[in-house]
Amino acid sequence: MTDLWDGLAQALWLVATFDPELVEIAARSLRVTLSALVVASAIAMPLAALLAVRRFRWRRVIIAILNALMGLPPVVVGLVVYVMLSRAGPFGVLGLLFTPTAMIIAQVIIIVPLIASIAHQSLRDLWQDYHDLLISMNVTQWQKIRTLLWDTRRALLTAALAGFGRAIGEVGAIMIVGGNIDHATRVLTTAIALETGKGDFALALALGFVLIGLAVAVNLAIHWLSRTEREGRW
């Protein structure tokens, strides 16, 4: 229990003093995760809309698989990305292993199914509303997707935030592909894992609280920003 209070106290202290090391790894966490989020959203959301809009033979199976992939074990993702990026692997020449780029790739793989699944739910519901109208207007597939994405943008924000949370809290994969190298690929979660291994649970918890605080802050900020729009009731 003392670890918990120590952790809280340390977290406050680290934040209050703008501990330079903390700032460095927190900034790296944010940079990596936000990059991954942008890329993943750009892939997942149109995909989710396409799955909502198009009826094809394997649609439901693909949705089921997407749901299943939400639970992709991060370690496995990390391994596969490692194998691909390692010098013996097909993309070895790019020299991406143990760089933030590799971490972004791993995070993208992990959060694309999550974002797509959550987004798909809202898109599908809106599509049930819009279906008749858009069909009757002979709207092209691409226009349907754009209309749905635009009119459901608030729910998509939730999906993106879920992806953000998952990515920033993830450790298994980026540990393998990033290597937790000091001043290069160390982020909040890998630092937490490190301190845990060292047995410094208080510091690990402190970093954890900073991480959770960061995630909550981003969420609240976004919710607060999207408030004005909410007034319009949709």
């Binding site: 109208l133 069909i135 009757s136 209309t147 009119d151 949709w234």
Partner: protein, 237 residues
């Protein structure tokens, strides 16, 4: 207009879980003017309209336009019994059909403003469409359907939620459209409206076309017992 019709329907049927909702329907529609589909609740008016429009799946039978299906679809618009409101402003809802056809945003909005004025929504352009009152939603749906200048307009009970004067205005708009060559296929429970608008009548009963023909003839001398009962407002068995 002439390139859509004649429309030939042969044995068109819609089934859901084995149950026949509508059909088999055999029908030929040609020429100009309005075709009014009438019949008791649940007789299949909505389903038939959607079927003709291609919005419901045909379980068997054929529906043939005088031109290729894709072309025919593009020349049609549909006002649903429960209007669908896009989660946008009134103006953006009405402009939507133009925008997806590639009209510039400014031009689309200018036209949309015109149409909003014509159906009586001129003073609520910026309101969110989903909060409109029932009647306002119907007006919006109509303006949105007409703005694309369809050659064929389907209307599923388009005036149910309208007050007396709005109904008259909308009927005037529809009559004008008809005169300008737009073909109408509409369903209604309002026999007065049916008489005012119809050139041709299709009387549905339990999913099948029970009687059809020129409007004047149908209303004056309905051929079947059931049509007579229906026109009197009696229960049709």
């Amino acid at each position: 207009m002439s390139d859509l019709f004649p429309l030939t329907v042969r044995g068109a049927t819609t089934r859901r879980r084995g149950k026949v909702l509508v059909g088999p329907v055999d029908l030929t529609l040609s020429g100009n003017g309005a075709c009014v589909v009438i019949g008791p609740n649940g007789s299949g008016k909505t389903t038939l309209l959607r079927l003709l429009h291609g919005a419901a799946r045909l379980s068997s039978g054929t529906i043939d336009w005088a031109c290729p299906m894709a072309k025919a679809r593009r020349a049609q618009a549909f006002v649903f019994q429960r209007p669908v409101m896009l989660r946008r402003s009134v103006l953006d809802n009405i402009a939507y059909p133009l925008i997806i056809r590639g009209t510039s945003r400014a031009q689309a909005r200018a036209q949309a403003r015109d149409w909003a004025e014509r159906v009586g929504l001129g003073d609520m352009l910026d309101r969110a469409a989903p909060v409109l009152s029932g009647g306002e939603q119907q007006k919006l749906a109509l303006a949105r359907a007409l703005i694309g200048q369809p050659k064929l307009l389907f209307l599923d009970e388009p005036c149910t939620a309208l007050d007396g004067s709005a109904m008259r205005e909308i009927e005037q708009i529809l009559t004008d459209a008809k005169a300008a060559g737009t073909r109408l296929i509409l369903s209604t429970h309002d026999m007065g409206q049916a008489r005012r608008l119809a050139d041709q009548v299709v009387f549905l009963l339990r999913g099948q076309v029970h009687e059809s023909g020129p409007a004047a003839e149908f209303f004056e001398t309905p051929r079947t017992e059931q049509a007579r009962a229906f026109l009197k407002g009696d229960i049709v068995e």
